[in-house]
Assembly symmetry: C2
Homo-oligomer: 342 residues x 2
Amino acid sequence: MKNVNDKSTDVVQLAHGGGGRMMHQLISEVFASIFDASGLDCSNDAALLPGQQSRIVFTTDSYVVDPLFFPGGDIGCLAVYGTVNDLAMRGARPAYMSVGFIVEEGFPINDLKRIAESMRASAQHAGISIVTGDTKVVDRGHGHGLFINTAGIGFVDHDLVIGVENVQPDDAIVLSGDIGRHGLAVMACRQELALETSIESDCASLAEPILKLIDARIDIHCLRDLTRGGLASALVEISESCRAEIVLNQAGIKVLPQVAAACEILGLDPLYVANEGRFVLFLPAEQVNLALEVIDRSCADSKPVVAGRVSAVGNPRVILRNEYGTERVIDMLSGDQLPRIC
Amino acid sequence: MKNVNDKSTDVVQLAHGGGGRMMHQLISEVFASIFDASGLDCSNDAALLPGQQSRIVFTTDSYVVDPLFFPGGDIGCLAVYGTVNDLAMRGARPAYMSVGFIVEEGFPINDLKRIAESMRASAQHAGISIVTGDTKVVDRGHGHGLFINTAGIGFVDHDLVIGVENVQPDDAIVLSGDIGRHGLAVMACRQELALETSIESDCASLAEPILKLIDARIDIHCLRDLTRGGLASALVEISESCRAEIVLNQAGIKVLPQVAAACEILGLDPLYVANEGRFVLFLPAEQVNLALEVIDRSCADSKPVVAGRVSAVGNPRVILRNEYGTERVIDMLSGDQLPRIC
């Protein structure tokens, strides 16, 4: 299918970073094929390491969000919560994290302090310790103010194995709250747009609700936070990994009126917009009410809903059913509708 | 001392990334003071995590080397060996690593593949598994081709506590080989210089010699690899951390003739030039011969030497004594003589 003479496929494009189809292609063609032998786990955001008494979960992410400060957060809390959430999505208790700063020459030291302080406060709030770090400076014009990389270690103290491989037919899918806030909050304050809205990022730690779900003995099959590519990409990714058919109910998917309005203006579909404090939970249908209760108690700013279910296994696709019963198939975006939102 | 009206101190400068005095100031003023409460360990390159059956060592580094390919290596093997070596310096067996790519739009995918392949081969050689990763793409003009961040996890299966806090008076200091190759190899192939030399980077895994030293029951007090800032900065840093007076013998410090010649031309002091496959070892004097033998057997391309000793504790300084008995005090560079060599 791929035309080898097509120059555009020979270099990395912005869309390769968008969490959509092109990113998955890049990962599978470049990294998965080369790193396969060393045991890289490409279908989950964090690796579960074998052979330890309490199992270790290990994850990494880089943050290149533009701008660095946005309503509801900044690159610092984004980096901490992003790492905490990747650990939580494997059912791990976040324990330790590293932070690597790549700073561009000329970056204001006061901004660096403000971001470090935001990281300290977020780490304290999420119960993770920043234990090791690194700083590199690149010459002016060869960076973009600040990039941050974090890696995190968490411990799994229970017997649940949470991962895409455990999705079951008839699983209910709970969505932890309204969607689309983070992507819109970042987009709205970009210089070229400067949209006047009151949208704040949903950036938050998801460790508490997840650990409480585990304490409540919810038989969690799979968890995924809805970052780059939004709810749609997360579900398509899961569906493709475990060959599940997923049916979503449009009525169950909440979007704040100001988010919906901004999406209208910008021509965006909130299903594909990034979140930084929302997750989907795959679980046995009979445990749904208890799970909703637990999430409701531990997530202050959002209301969990049953968003859909796994209707079958063996026919990987995601279907959105609206209130009139009309269905459409949801695909991953090829590229990226919102570059550099995390 | 600091003039608050001096604008140059209010922004990050290239010299803040050089491993010298300015970098230490930035770390202590910005990061150490803010992250202190969360347990950040600023005096070692990797954190030792408490409370596990086999102790865990955790480290991170970002790589911004320019150019990405240089004689003797590339950013990929540099990133793998850098992480492996930070783990080894705490006496840990390297086990798992993460890799985060920050790619600039337009970067050739073939180069990305070549670098990923180099990482795979280096990881296999060093016995570490790449288990988790992340890719971000930044728009053209806001990166510099490719930055890589890695984090690593290693396990300590012995009772030695290796760290700057264990340096003892009368410790011998063994240097694992000749110095200055990596920095010169990178500098020599920069476009603006294009110095014609045969210098290859010393970029290599140090896990094997360190693990063999531990197997041989060498009572290792402190280890440090000689990266940014070179031998001089590493020793000044150790001396200041543990308040030790260190005396170095110039005669024991080997520099290849082509490295010495290139240093002449560029006006550099090899004591401050970065290495990526060399370390210093602090140990009881009576174990020196055994240590030299072990290192000699496991480092193919270098010859270990006794480079100096800890002459006292309580008077932190590093003295270089030449063959005529003349002494000079070695300080950390303020900034950086070679930006972006790792």
